[in-house]
Structures are given as structure tokens and as C-alpha cells.
């Protein structure tokens, strides 16, 4: 099977701290990582490759430094990598991003042949929108399954276990299709020294606006229907009431009394 995984390089939000004085984000020294949900997507793809054979291509849109994210993917199962990068793509919202990525995917397919399954992470941890995957599917006119935790494939179709709000659904779908992946029950594989070295040496091809058929007016800030009007840091709540009692049991009784008396419970 020919598989494609879309990945994004994101700041490691777990490393972001708030400056208590100014109440703003401290970004200095925040490392960049491959979006965790994209690593899950790559692992799901890699398991299909282990099972059925085939190849995995990874694609990412971002500045030149996003190459590092692609190199990482090449160390854990990806065979080929493309970086979609162009100044005119700057400021793209989810709709413009998905439009550009779908153009880039078509350009890669023109060279390498069509993909059977396109994988994306459920969402990126910096934006948390979960929109780019389904928007790519629509641009490419592909059926989709979102929130997948498990995917098995055979020739011409896949079966995905999709998480929903109160359980899961098993969904069968003909290929080609697009799958977004949430956290599965297994961890992504780690690179070996050998695979890491090979990944470092691998070439990463760059795709710019010139390499694909795009309506530039639908790219970048100008092509984005949504605009950021303002940003602000949320008010941090100050600590509230402390319950103090002679022992744990008494504290528990006190808390229950407080909540019942105040009619919150």
C-alpha cells in the first residue's frame, strides 16, 4: 500500500510556561517537536506497512526548520519526505493550509502515483483545531474517518476503529481515503542508531508554490477567511479556599458538608 502521513512541527507546549509578572507566554528555549498525534498517525501507518508492505511518504508544511521534523519521521518508518515551504504560504489559516497541502499532495501523486491512504494526526497541539485533516479530505474529494485508534488494511479497503463520545464505531471504507488518528493503545516506535543515521542522510525535497497548481489568492494570510483579531492570556484563577482539619476523614466530612450546604451538590 502507498501511504502518506501529514505531519506538523509544533512547539512543545508542555514546555511553555507563563511569566507570572507579565502573564504572557515564555517561549524562549521552547523546543520544537513532531506533533504527538502525527507520531501516532505515522505509527499506525508503519504497522500497516509492516503487515501489508508498501511505502510511507511524509509531508509537512512549514518553514525550513520543519525539515527536522521530517528527518525524525524518516527514522521511524517513513521512506520519503517532502517539505512544503514558501513565503506566500505564511499566515495561512486551516482552510488555506488544507488547500495548499492538497495541492502539494496532488503534485507528489503526479510524480509517485496515487496514495491509498492519507493519514493525519487528529489535531496539532499548538492550534488544537482538528480541521486540516477533514478539510484536505474534502479538497481531494476523499472519504474520511476521524478519531481513529486502530486501522487495518487490505487491498482496496480499510477498517478503522473510531472513537466517539460514548464508545466506538467500526468503519469500513474503500481506498483511497483519509484517516485522522488519535492516541492509540500502543506507543510510537523509537529509532535505532542505524535508522537515525540513514534518516540524517536522506534528501528532503522542497515543494514551493511553483511546483503545484495553486490559486495564490487562496493561500497565505490573504487567502485565509479567518483573521486573528486579538490575542490575550487568560486570567489565571487565584487559589481559593483551603480546608484544614485534624485528619483526612474529618476534612472529607467538612468538604461534603460545605458542598451540600451551599447546594452545589
Amino acid at each position: 500500500m502507498k501511504l502518506l502521513v501529514c505531519v506538523k512541527q509544533v512547539p512543545d507546549t508542555t514546555e511553555i510556561r507563563i511569566d507570572p509578572e507579565t502573564n504572557t507566554l515564555i517561549r524562549a528555549g521552547v523546543p520544537s517537536i513532531v506533533n504527538p498525534f502525527d507520531t501516532y498517525a505515522l505509527e499506525v501507518a508503519a504497522r500497516i506497512k509492516d503487515e501489508c508492505g508498501g511505502s510511507i511518504t511524509v509531508i509537512s508544511m512549514g518553514p525550513q526548520q520543519a525539515k527536522n521534523a521530517l528527518t525524525e519521521c524518516l527514522g521511524v518508518g517513513a521512506d520519503k519526505a517532502y517539505l512544503v515551504s514558501d513565503r506566500v504560504f505564511g499566515g495561512s489559516d486551516t482552510l488555506a493550509t488544507s488547500y495548499i497541502l492538497s495541492g502539494a499532495i496532488r503534485a507528489v501523486e503526479a510524480k509517485e502515483g496515487p496514495f491509498d491512504v492519507i493519514f493525519c494526526g487528529k489535531q496539532a497541539i499548538d492550534g488544537d483545531t482538528a480541521q486540516v485533516g477533514p478539510e484536505i479530505a474534502e479538497h481531494l474529494d476523499l472519504p474520511q474517518v476521524t478519531y481513529a485508534v486502530e486501522v487495518t488494511a487490505k487491498e482496496g479497503s480499510i477498517v478503522a476503529k473510531r472513537e466517539n463520545d460514548d464508545g466506538y464505531a467500526l468503519i469500513e471504507m474503500q481506498t483511497p481515503c483519509l484517516v485522522t488518528v488519535t492516541k492509540p493503545a500502543f506507543d510510537p516506535r523509537v529509532p535505532t542508531i542505524k535508522s537515525k543515521l540513514a534518516a540524517k542522510k536522506a534528501e528532503i525535497a522542497i515543494i514551493t508554490s511553483e511546483d503545484m497548481e495553486l490559486d495564490i489568492s487562496r493561500c497565505g494570510l490573504k487567502g485565509s477567511p479567518t483573521k486573528v483579531k486579538k490575542t490575550f492570556t487568560p486570567q489565571v484563577k487565584k487559589g481559593g479556599l483551603r480546608i484544614v482539619a485534624e485528619d483526612g476523614a474529618a476534612a472529607g466530612v467538612k468538604l461534603a458538608g460545605l458542598l451540600v450546604d451551599a447546594k452545589v451538590i
Binding site: G167, L170, K222, S224, P234, K238, A249, A256
Partner: protein, 395 residues
């Protein structure tokens, strides 16, 4: 193209650094420099006291927006039961529609939707657009998006609100993509700029560390997905009158997706997104056997059980219980954090809860900074006492 430039007026005062949501400005040799990571959002412009940021925003020519009217709500349902978030959105939609002097409508797709349509009217819908067909019995991205788009194209709403559930977050982007319009995910606040008829959509980003207000000035409809439990539903009013419209749509027959099986593995109580009370376990519970204290408390309160990532990764409880950045985002009335220290990623998933109660051994745990009520002590002592007391007092 839009462009950004630092002019010679720059004094290197660094005021702009903090205004950039993307950390794309540095100051070198007493002059600011814009990095490649700049997204041209323009957020920095107003922070400069010296007018040293030369930013040109290319406005797209205004499309004809006047043809679009009304606020729409996607009425998610399962087996004929309307999801609570749809009622919440009707409540919010009613408020927004009043500001725009327009009406609020619901779009309902499914099979056997008669009583669901009426329920939507009692909860505030002036109009319900119903597509009732056996092929729509189960939610399906492909056909639901296809039909939804047909109805939007026929009736042209100016605003569409969709619940940010797992289905809503799957449907909304597909619809926005076909309509070539903007969509803002997981909004927690909505307002109206009445003059421009713009929807001001506020949402958290960077794991809740930053809030952003997003607009969609030149495209219609303006679409937003909204988190469950954030907006308030109206009290149902049986006397309310509303119109039911059956739009003329083509129902796709050749979908390549097939739902093989739907399993409700979680009990009603564990639907975290819709729970009023959540009792959540963190690593501080010590061992998997102690999870029962958390479950017993949840039982007596009719609450859902949540968990931190540490507990899920340790294999003590399933991932579906995980609250936080890589788990679920919740906003219950009461969140009882048991042995959860309060890592940023966890807080991102629950900080919008109305009342946060933290129980932890460590008095310096970050969760206490956020908690409305804090108890320092041993869970194994506190939880059983709490459960027993609740049993006695609320039975």
C-alpha cells in the same frame, strides 16, 4: 500580498515581543527583526508605541454578504435523542440572533426525527430544517456533510454553530471546506460586532495558555464549533411555536463508507464531555486498587470518572477517561481532582470547569493554584469519608 517591515523608528524597546502569538520577533542590535515563523497575523502592530511596524494587510474584495441571514445550529442527535450541546447552542444562538435582529434555526438530519424536531422548537429554534431518511440513521461524515452543504446553499445562513463533539469536529471542517469559508474550532466565547455583523469567536490555543479572538470578515457563513457545557440552554417552553421545513435535497446513495458496528462501551456516567460532575484520578492515588475510592465517590454523585495521562499510561484505566491536552476537554460544574498534581497539559483539558476541588498530598502541587477548594491530605482517608458523608446527606 500582505507584508510586514520594521522601520527606522524602531528603538528596540521589545514591547512587540510579548504581543506576538508565534514568538516570531527578536530584537538584535536594538532593532526588532521579524523571523520566518511570522504568520502575518498583525497582532504586533498595535503594541508598538513608535509606529515602527509597517504592516499592510491586503483586504480581499468584499463578497456580497448581504444575501446571508440567520443563525443556524447543527442539531447533533443519536438514536433520535438530541445531544445537549445542540440545546446549549440554540440558547446561545437565540442570544446572538437577537443582537443581529434575525432568527435562529436548527438543522436536523437522521431517521424518525419528529419528536426531536419538536424538542428543538421548545428549546428556542424558530425554524427546524429536517432531513428524515433511513439512510441517515447513523452519523456518516460523507452524507451528512453533503446534505448539510445542500441545505446551507439553499437557505444561506450568516452564522453556523456546531457542537465540538467528535462528530461535530469531523463534520464542520468538511462543510467549511466545500463552502470555502472560515471555521473557528472549539470556541469558548461568542460575541457579535453588530455594526459589521461579524461573529467574534474566542478560543483557547497553545493548550489554553493563550486566548485568541477570531473573525471571518469577508466570507459567509461564519462557522464556529463550540465546546459542550460552555453555553447555556434555554428552559424548554412547550408553548413555543416554530416552523418545520423539509428541504429538497439529494440524499447520496453511493457512499464508500460503511458503519459496521457502533459500540457504546462507556456507560452513560462516563460521558465526560456531557458530565455535570467529574471525579478524576491522578498518579497520587498510588496504586490501581485505590481507583475504587474514586469510582465510589463518582457513583454516589452520579459523576463521570476522569483520569490524568499518568494513570492512563500506567494502564490503570482506559484512554477514553483521559482528560487533558492529549485526552478530552471537559467543562463540568464540579471537577474533583484526586491526586492530580496539575501539569499544564492536564489543566488545558479542565480549567474551564466551574468549581475545581483539589485533593492532594503535596501542598505545593500546582493544581492548588487553580482550585476553588483545596484539601491537603491522604486520599485513602479523605475519599471514603467524603463518599460516606455524601451518601448520608444526599442519599
Amino acid at each position: 500580498m500582505a507584508s510586514i517591515k520594521i522601520t527606522d523608528q524602531c528603538t528596540g524597546c521589545k514591547l512587540c515581543l510579548k504581543s506576538c502569538p508565534f514568538g516570531a520577533i527578536v530584537v538584535e542590535d536594538k532593532k526588532a527583526r521579524i523571523l520566518d515563523t511570522c504568520t502575518l497575523c498583525g497582532a504586533c502592530v498595535s503594541s508598538c508605541k513608535f509606529e515602527a511596524i509597517d504592516f499592510t494587510k491586503e483586504e480581499s474584495q468584499a463578497a456580497d454578504l448581504s444575501a446571508y441571514h440567520g443563525v443556524w445550529v447543527f442539531a447533533e442527535q443519536k438514536d433520535g435523542k438530541v445531544a445537549n450541546v445542540a440545546f446549549e447552542l440554540l440558547g446561545e444562538g437565540t442570544r446572538l440572533a437577537a443582537k443581529l435582529d434575525t432568527k435562529v434555526s436548527a438543522v436536523l438530519l437522521g431517521e424518525g426525527m419528529e419528536s426531536a424536531s419538536k424538542e428543538l422548537i421548545t428549546h428556542g429554534a424558530d425554524t427546524v430544517y429536517v432531513v428524515d431518511d433511513p439512510k441517515l440513521r447513523q452519523y456518516n461524515d460523507e452524507s451528512y456533510a453533503d446534505i448539510f452543504v445542500q441545505v446551507v446553499k439553499a437557505y444561506k445562513p450568516e452564522i453556523i454553530l456546531i457542537g465540538a463533539t467528535t462528530y461535530g469536529r469531523s463534520l464542520a471542517p468538511r462543510v467549511a471546506s466545500v463552502l470555502n469559508t472560515g471555521l473557528t474550532a472549539d470556541c469558548t466565547g461568542l460575541e457579535i460586532d453588530t455594526q459589521k455583523r461579524e461573529l467574534l469567536q474566542t478560543r483557547p490555543a497553545f493548550g489554553g495558555n493563550l486566548m485568541a479572538t477570531i473573525i471571518c470578515p469577508n466570507h459567509r457563513p461564519q462557522m464556529a464549533s463550540v465546546r459542550p457545557k460552555v453555553m447555556k440552554a434555554l428552559e424548554p417552553d412547550e408553548t413555543r411555536q416554530g416552523e418545520i421545513i423539509v428541504p429538497d435535497v439529494n440524499i447520496p446513495t453511493d457512499t464508500v463508507t460503511k458503519v459496521l458496528e457502533v459500540v457504546n462501551s462507556l456507560t452513560e456516567k462516563v460521558n465526560l464531555a456531557e458530565a455535570d460532575i467529574i471525579v478524576a484520578a491522578g498518579r497520587g492515588i498510588g496504586k490501581p486498587e485505590n481507583l475504587r475510592y474514586v469510582e465510589e465517590l463518582a457513583d454516589v454523585l452520579g459523576a463521570a470518572v476522569g483520569a490524568s495521562r499518568a494513570v492512563v499510561d500506567a494502564g490503570w484505566i482506559e484512554y477514553s477517561h483521559q482528560v487533558g491536552q492529549t485526552g478530552k476537554t471537559v467543562g463540568p460544574k464540579i471537577y474533583i481532582a484526586c491526586g492530580i498534581s496539575g501539569a499544564v497539559q492536564h489543566l488545558a483539558g479542565m480549567s474551564s470547569s466551574d468549581i475545581i476541588i483539589a485533593i492532594n498530598k503535596n501542598p505545593d502541587a500546582p493544581i492548588f493554584k487553580l482550585a476553588n477548594i483545596g484539601l491537603v491530605g491522604d486520599l485513602v482517608e479523605i475519599l471514603p469519608a467524603l463518599t460516606k458523608e455524601f451518601k448520608q446527606r444526599i442519599g
